[in-house]
């Protein structure tokens, strides 16, 4: 019998994502991939997976998942309101975020709301048994490819698991939450900053911009003061001959409001791009919610590269420093008995 996680209630926008479909932009293929690569990396580390394993990216509200496997280890990462685990013969029990959990057949995981952020991740030990397309499991729903049938999850879907049962061993948690940083979103000027007047560039880095309701995996449209183009829009000031669009590119069409382009962005486009979000801050962008306000601050390329390298080193230290998760108040006797009976595993400490 194959192992599954069955979606008994769908969330709002749950898709499978890994680090993206890399190497096919020249064919017009968007990279897609996790909105928050740090959250994905931490979830995989907690589940004992390689970083690039596809996990469930949870937008705003998570699904209810029924375990149709002997057991499964899941890791939840992100600011979720308490998720619950319930079985046919047990009352609902809250599940902490930022740690792994062992679930048994017949239990239902009710993933909570994502609070204070738009994105959370659920990784399963061993990953999902789904075919990669062009080297990636990332869902790109506009073309209906990748992930589970190329789309967000719906009620009744059965996600096949690679493992019939969870591997033995301890559950793990983060020693402390990962610090994504605060303050302005760092950007690098270009590629088309000269399409904007000096006043327009000053507006962009001097004003507050609010995330509008038009925010999804393709990009975030901001509301705020209008950025002035160098040449009048009706004289072609907001048109360029299309060129490549990198991750975090900030295009400013004729209306003068910035749009930050993310994983599901088109590969090329014809609007001038005033600046590009530094990769260190892309995970923060991927977590923004409508109504939140940001500022942008310009930094040089070499500084952006250094910040990214520092962040990566910090992420690796966080992963190396995962700690064994102890139930609050000492040893969880129920779990100890379960583990002894089923797996013969005993806590060492």
């Amino acid at each position: 019998m194959t192992a599954h996680l069955k979606v008994v209630r769908a969330g709002l926008f749950d898709t499978l994502q890994d680090l993206g479909r890399i190497g096919f932009m020249a064919l017009g293929m968007p990279t897609a991939g996790a909105m928050d690569r740090i959250g994905l990396g931490l979830a995989n580390a907690l589940a004992g997976n390689p970083t690039n394993t596809a996990a469930l990216e949870i937008g705003v509200m998570g699904p209810d998942l029924l375990v149709e496997a002997d057991s499964v280890r899941v890791a939840l990462v992100g600011p979720l309101s308490p998720s619950l685990i319930e079985g046919p013969d047990a009352s609902p029990k809250p599940l902490e975020s930022d740690r792994s959990h062992l679930l048994k057949r017949g239990q239902t995981l009710r993933v909570g709301m994502v609070e204070g952020s738009s994105t959370a991740y659920l990784a399963v030990a061993g990953g999902f048994a789904l075919p990669a397309f062009m080297g990636s499991l990332s869902t790109y729903s506009r073309a209906g490819i990748g992930g589970f049938e190329g789309r967000k999850l719906g009620a009744g879907d059965a996600l096949p698991l690679r493992r019939e049962a969870a591997p033995g061993g301890d559950e793990h948690k983060l020693a402390q939450p990962f610090d994504y940083g605060t303050g302005p979103i760092r950007v690098v000027w270009g590629p088309q900053e000269e399409y904007f007047s000096a006043a327009g560039r000053q507006t962009f880095i001097g004003a507050d911009y609010k995330v509008s309701k038009e925010a999804d995996r393709m990009g975030i449209r901001f509301e705020g003061p209008v950025i002035e183009h160098a040449v009048a829009v009706d004289k072609g000031g907001a048109d360029i001959i299309s060129d490549g669009i990198g991750p975090g590119a900030i295009q400013v069409p004729g209306a003068g409001l910035p749009i930050v382009l993310l994983g599901d962005r088109q590969t090329v486009g014809g609007y001038p791009k005033i600046a590009t979000v530094a990769s260190v801050d892309l995970p923060r962008l991927g977590r923004l919610l409508p109504g939140q306000t940001v500022r942008f601050a310009a930094i040089p390329v070499d500084e952006a590269e250094k910040l990214r390298r520092d962040q990566e080193a910090r992420l690796q230290r966080t992963i190396a420093g995962l700690v064994v998760a102890r139930p609050p108040g000492g040893i969880d006797l129920v779990r100890l008995y379960e583990e002894n009976l089923i797996d013969g595993v005993v806590y060492s400490g």
Binding site: F24, A143, G190, I241, T276, R308
Partner: protein
């Protein structure tokens, strides 16, 4: 001819060869696209992730954990200076197109009227156009193909269609294109190919590539239906479309 390097954050930069659309400029873009792929495969340019060619520029994406802009740009500049790699040939590709069915070519008569031709003359001009694939983008497999016979130049339709069927062959301005998916579109529909420009069942889901020399071959409805059945069944021999390599 010098190039400009434009910053795209700390994971990419764009090599801009010019700010106009010309075959010469695009030729240099494609040459660098090929040269970087070659250098990367030979392990000579570590940290490059991929390159994205357009009409007049090449975006180079890189991994800031493996290299840096300061290290990479001089290497790319050396490849720019070296020019076209030896032995680079473009493919000659022939796509079958059925112009005969009114359902396939709802705009053929209007195009004929506006260009003061008969429908057959419009088809003949489309068949005679020396097309070249410049860019794939916007959606997977959508090709911007320039080289349309100048007597067929028309602006886009003032009223875009909400739904253009998959595999429609369309013209606008100096270009032709083939819709890889059913999608909205504002170009003039003059035919349909039985081929799919994006077929995720294939190992190479996108058949066309930037740099391809492209022409169309007129087929009747019966041939269209036969090829369409083969494509649907995954039995079509795509290599038969390439004349020389």
């Amino acid at each position: 001819m010098s190039v400009r390097y434009l910053s795209c954050g700390d994971t990419a930069f764009t090599v801009e060869f010019g700010n106009e659309i010309s075959p010469e400029i695009n030729g240099r873009v494609m040459a660098l696209h090929a040269a970087i792929a070659q250098a990367r495969d030979a392990g000579e340019i570590p940290g490059v992730v991929e390159t994205v060619p357009t009409m007049r520029s090449l975006m180079v994406t890189y991994d800031p954990l493996a290299t840096s802009r300061a290290e990479l740009q001089p290497r790319v500049d050396a490849l720019v200076a070296r020019g076209l790699p030896a032995g680079m040939k473009s493919r000659q590709v022939m796509l079958p197109c059925c112009y005969d069915d009114r359902e396939f070519a709802p705009d053929l008569e209007e195009v004929a009227e506006r260009t003061k031709k008969t429908p057959d003359e419009v088809i003949a001009a489309h068949l005679a156009s020396p097309f070249k694939v410049y860019v794939l983008g916007f959606m997977p497999g959508l090709a911007y193909v320039a080289g349309l016979e100048p007597s067929l130049f028309l602006p886009r339709r003032s009223q875009p269609r909400v739904r253009v069927p998959r595999s429609s062959v369309a013209i606008a301005m100096d270009m032709t294109t083939i819709y890889p998916f059913e999608s909205p579109g504002g170009w003039h529909l003059i035919g349909r190919t039985p081929l799919w420009m994006f077929d995720q069942r294939r190992e190479q889901p996108v058949f066309l590539a930037p740099g391809d020399q492209l022409s169309f071959q007129r087929i009747d409805r019966k041939t269209y239906d036969r090829i369409a059945r083969d494509v649907e069944a995954g039995a079509f021999d795509w290599s038969s479309l390439v004349k020389s390599q």
